[in-house]
């Protein structure tokens, strides 16, 4: 089975190709060099280097975040429209799952972290059972302290924020906190390989409806929600010039 995997949700963008049980190609670039400008150019590069075409793929996989909202929109839109155009199955993979997958060898609870700014993170807990990786509970979006309060057993923190907030995590959790490799951004081929069992089981995503996993809302949405919750104060029928 041949699958192209694309991820533009993080600072390192990547495209990889899985052909059977081997990684045929993996190419990464810095998102600052433009996700939008590079994504098709590098898709073409990976396919040409592999001597294959998009039409020869059996499926397409894409990182759906959480991560950069703009970045993940580029990857998700490009991959789903390509899948729709060449009529290939599509699989969206969470960036957190891809990060956890890379540390599957560890026999403790895994907690991949994605930076959400202002000491906030996106996170989830994953447990390895045999060959299976299962998420425990819901996705998390909030402060790093709010996250550490939830754990009562040894946890391996993964991702760049694990290093950014290592001090806070250690002071809150002491010896329960472990830390994975600092360079654990998953490559495109990881996203592709994670999709293989899903394609094999026939559980593809719908190419038209796939959307990013944001785990957060815009400031305007948050303010509106707050305003609507506080609603009740009536407004006069005449406009207020100072308003």
């Amino acid at each position: 089975m041949r699958v192209l995997g694309i991820d533009t949700a993080s600072r390192t963008n990547s495209i990889g190709l899985i052909d059977g049980d081997r990684v045929a190609a993996d190419f990464a670039w810095d998102a600052r060099d433009s996700s939008l400008q590079q994504i098709i150019v590098n898709t073409d590069l990976v396919l040409k280097r592999s001597g294959l075409t998009l039409a020869e793929m059996d499926g397409l996989a894409v990182g759906i975040g959480p991560g950069s909202w703009t970045g993940v929109r580029i990857g998700v839109t490009v991959t789903k429209i390509m899948a729709h155009a060449v009529n290939k199955p599509l699989c969206g993979i969470s960036s957190l799952e891809a990060m956890a997958h890379q540390s599957k060898g560890a026999s403790l609870l895994l907690c991949p972290l994605v930076d959400a700014g202002r000491e906030n993170v996106y996170a989830a807990f994953y447990r390895v059972r045999g060959k299976e990786l299962t998420r425990e509970g819901e996705y998390y979006a909030g402060s790093i302290r709010g996250l550490t309060e939830r754990v009562k057993e040894p946890v391996m923190f993964l991702g760049r924020p694990a290093y950014l907030y290592r001090g806070v995590i250690t002071s809150e959790m002491g010896a329960l906190a472990r830390f994975g490799s600092p360079s654990d951004t998953p490559s495109g081929s990881v996203f592709a390989s994670l999709s293989l069992p899903r394609f094999a089981a026939g559980v593809a995503d719908d190419a038209l409806s796939l959307v990013p996993l944001y785990l957060g809302e815009s400031l305007a949405q948050a303010l509106l929600r707050k305003k609507e919750a506080e609603a009740g104060g009536g407004r006069g029928s005449r406009p207020d010039p100072e308003g």
Binding site: S34, L36, Q37, Q38, I39, I40, V41, T43, D44, L54, W69, T70, R73, I74, V76, T77, V78, T79, K80, I81, M82, H84, A85, V86, A207, L208, S209, V211, P212, Y214, S218, L219, A220, Q221, L224, R235, S237, R238, P239, D240, P241, G243
Partner: protein, 336 residues
Amino acid sequence: MLVLGIETSCDETAAALVDEGNVLSNVIASQIDLHARFGGIVPEVASRKHVEVIGYVIREAFDSAGKGHSQVDAIAVTSKYGLIGSLIVGVSAAKAMAYALRVPLIGIHHIEGHIFANILSNPGLPLPHVCLTVSGGHTMLIHVKEPGQYEVLGGTLDDAAGEAFDKIAKFLGLGFPGGPAIEKLAGHGNRTAINLPRPLGRSRTSDFSFSGLKTAVVNMFKDSARQTLPLPDIAAGFQEAVVDVLVSKTLQAAQRQGVSAVSVTGGVSINTRLREAFSESCRRRGLQVFFPRRDLCTDNAAMVAAAGAVRLKYGEVSGLDLDAIPNAPLESIKCA
């Protein structure tokens, strides 16, 4: 030549198939209701909605035209001028489609799209002519020498005309979008009951300014004697002031360029009073005036596809590294 157009520069997700000037499909998913709750367009909300619906909109453009992917000769997309987050989604989709179908990709300036809304709607549109593009995002006067050859004569120095409508509607508590709300209320008012300024009305440039007009309306509510003025009269007086400036500046530009025709395009060109005033004034001056068909006034992808077809004929094709640029100047076709 069958061209797929894609447009996501602001708050409409649109896709269309155009074949040699014939609009085979023109699909527009409007986000107006979504943004109305916020009283204006929220860029992050718009970007998310574009990703959610873009695939369905493209599929519908093919289905309703009765065409298949393999029949498309090129993909044109609005890549310049608009909200960056919104533009990015359309450009991503267009690139993916062009690469997958192995057809040329053409990046189009949003304003050039609006110019083509009139060319598509009126096959007899004379050239050269002066085009006024007017919406919530832009107010521009352009000397259209021929399709693809432009000279920008002027634009707004502050708010776009449609933006002024939105802000006054918000101030009067009429909701978003402001254009239709003001027009409806103005229908019950007297347009000469109040006297509002015509900003830059006497200046010899082709530039516009609407923020002072907005302030003038707001200030009327600080004057207790005027507090009793009926809102319909305020709406009608405000609309008249905007229309007056748009008409006089466009006719002035037409005279200076020595053209015999003008065209008006963009979301505000759907306004009935604007159309009426343009028709009256142009008739008096012996000028022809053209408007797009109603479904091509607001943002749409048919106009983008039409512009793309012309650029492609002159060999202007974009690379797969096409970028989205929110503030790009309108450029003519170079190799013509």
